[in-house]
């Protein structure tokens, strides 16, 4: 599982039987109380139910393999939608793809201006009931300088099923350990340094909390140490995760040769399974020169067991950055796992030019790029395009030829 925290948004992607939506109301409370975002459902932050008003919300997933083993509201899409509808106003739920095969679900709220949606009457601050009865409005964002200059946003997600069994073995602890043992220590060290982006060369610091408790992790009580000591104090899971990142090819999705500031944090689970997060600063966004240049992320999660083999890849690195097309990225990732079938979802903001409504400009949209239909070794079975108020969504489904 992974979480990405930006100043203005949070992305949480969780695996297995985690209960993601059960953390939603706590998230909204944290956003109000600890981050200071506006709220409209309570008189003050003292109210136990206080919840920040989000600008917008997305919740999505592929159909589960074992829905009956899920917990909380995650046993069915219907229950998840009910939970979200009970929480938010302005929500819409969609199913994309074949009902009798791999399909994908999306719930999203639509931003509305405060002029259109007046704030709800604040609740009494002395109530202590944990049962919230009012829905949280979305989209009420105060106008501030720069609000109209929101950068383009795009997200690519590749969900792969039925992984090649031989390639899936890379993501087992036993095999990864064998691979690591064949590397001379200097090579292993070099692989880790490459994956972490030569931390020692960029004025970075490794902050290690050995044997720390939760409060220590949070409070930043760990000792600042140099990179050499940090390498020695890594865990087996992180060390082997780095080896796997390098040997399987994931470290080359956004290679440091093209993205010199990119970083990877990977972990190999026991007895198997793998997760990695990548942070990719925008080109030339070095040091203090580009405070407004965003960093992007990518994340991978792998479940290699044959009975439920699955891998996901997600990124918001803009297509075309450093000359790399989205179709190149998809091909690279698919070649790592060689799945029997996979889906691709691509979200991108609409062109906000004045003539956007009158003159559609499909050629300018990466999501409809025909090259994304031609992944070598696969036949595209479906391509479904959804047009929302401010986003395009393109869903594709591929099967091995």
């Amino acid at each position: 599982s992974s979480m990405f925290v930006f100043p203005h948004k949070l992305i949480l992607k969780t695996c297995g039987t985690t209960t993601l939506l059960l953390g939603l109301r706590r998230l909204l409370r944290i956003a109000a109380v600890d981050a200071g975002f506006p709220f409209h459902n309570a008189a003050s932050t003292e109210d136990i139910n206080v919840a920040a008003t989000p600008h917008r919300v997305f919740y999505s997933r592929k159909n589960f393999l074992f829905p009956d083993r899920q917990q909380g509201p995650h046993t069915s899409w219907k229950e998840e939608v009910k939970f979200l509808d009970d929480t938010f106003e302005n929500g819409s739920a969609y199913m994309v793809g074949r009902m009798n095969a791999d399909h994908w679900y999306l719930y999203m709220t639509t931003p509305t201006s405060s002029a259109l949606t007046p704030p709800l009457t604040p609740r009494s601050s002395n109530t202590s009931s944990p049962t919230r009865t009012r829905k949280i409005p979305t989209g009420i964002v105060p106008h501030v300088s720069g609000a109209g200059d929101a950068p383009a946003d795009e997200t690519l997600e590749v969900l792969m099923m039925d992984l090649d069994p031989e390639l899936a073995k890379q993501f087992y602890l036993e095999q990864a350990s064998a691979v690591a043992s064949k590397q001379v220590p200097a090579q292993a060290q070099e692989a880790r340094r490459a994956a972490l982006g030569s931390l020692g060369d960029i004025d970075s610091t490794v902050d290690v909390f050995e044997n720390c408790g939760e409060s220590d992790l949070a409070g930043g009580q760990g000792a600042e140490i140099d990179v050499t000591a940090g390498e020695a104090m890594t865990t087996e899971g992180h060390a082997l995760g780095t080896v796997v990142s390098d040997t399987c090819g994931l470290a080359q999705v956004y290679p440091t040769s093209h993205y010199p500031d990119a970083r990877i944090d990977a972990y190999l689970f026991s007895p198997c399974g793998y997760s990695a997060n990548g942070v990719v600063p925008a080109p030339d966004a070095g040091a203090e020169a580009n405070d407004n240049k965003p960093a992007h992320y990518w994340t991978v999660h792998v479940t290699p067991e044959p009975i439920c083999s699955y891998a996901s890849f997600e990124t918001n690195v803009p297509s075309g950055q450093n000359g790399r097309r989205t179709s190149d990225t998809i091909q690279h990732v698919v070649d790592i796992f060689k799945p029997g079938r996979f889906t691709v979802t691509f979200f991108e903001t609409k062109n906000k030019t004045a003539d956007d409504e009158a003159v559609p400009q499909p050629a300018a949209r990466a999501g409809v790029d025909k090259r994304m239909d031609g992944i070598k070794g696969y036949r595209r079975m479906d391509r479904i395009i959804h047009e929302f108020d401010d986003y395009h969504l393109v869903f594709r489904y591929f099967e091995r030829e």
Partner: protein, 89 residues
């Protein structure tokens, strides 16, 4: 505690969790994905928001939420623009 220089990255490893994690019982591949925006962009935070918005919230505060989700923090890469949490399960 310390403040990394602009442009730098900081890796934090939670050894308590990451050293002895057993994922034998994990079985379901497909993930759930939640994305919540509180402002249209990092440069459009409302005036009430603290410096750095959500990014200014401490990891321990997020841990309380992640406990409800059944996830633990394995490690964190902090950058100027985004903090990337690698989680258990």
């Amino acid at each position: 505690t310390f403040s990394p220089a602009p442009g730098s990255l900081q890796l934090t490893i939670n050894h308590d969790i990451a050293a002895d994690l057993d994922s034998t019982n994990a079985f379901e591949g497909p993930e759930k994905l939640l994305e919540v925006w509180f402002a249209p962009s990092p440069t459009a935070l409302p005036p009430t928001a603290r410096d750095n918005g959500l990014k200014g919230v401490s990891p321990s505060t997020w841990e309380g939420m992640l406990d409800m989700v059944n996830c633990k923090v394995l490690s964190i890469v902090k950058s100027d623009h985004v903090d990337a949490y690698l989680l258990s399960e």
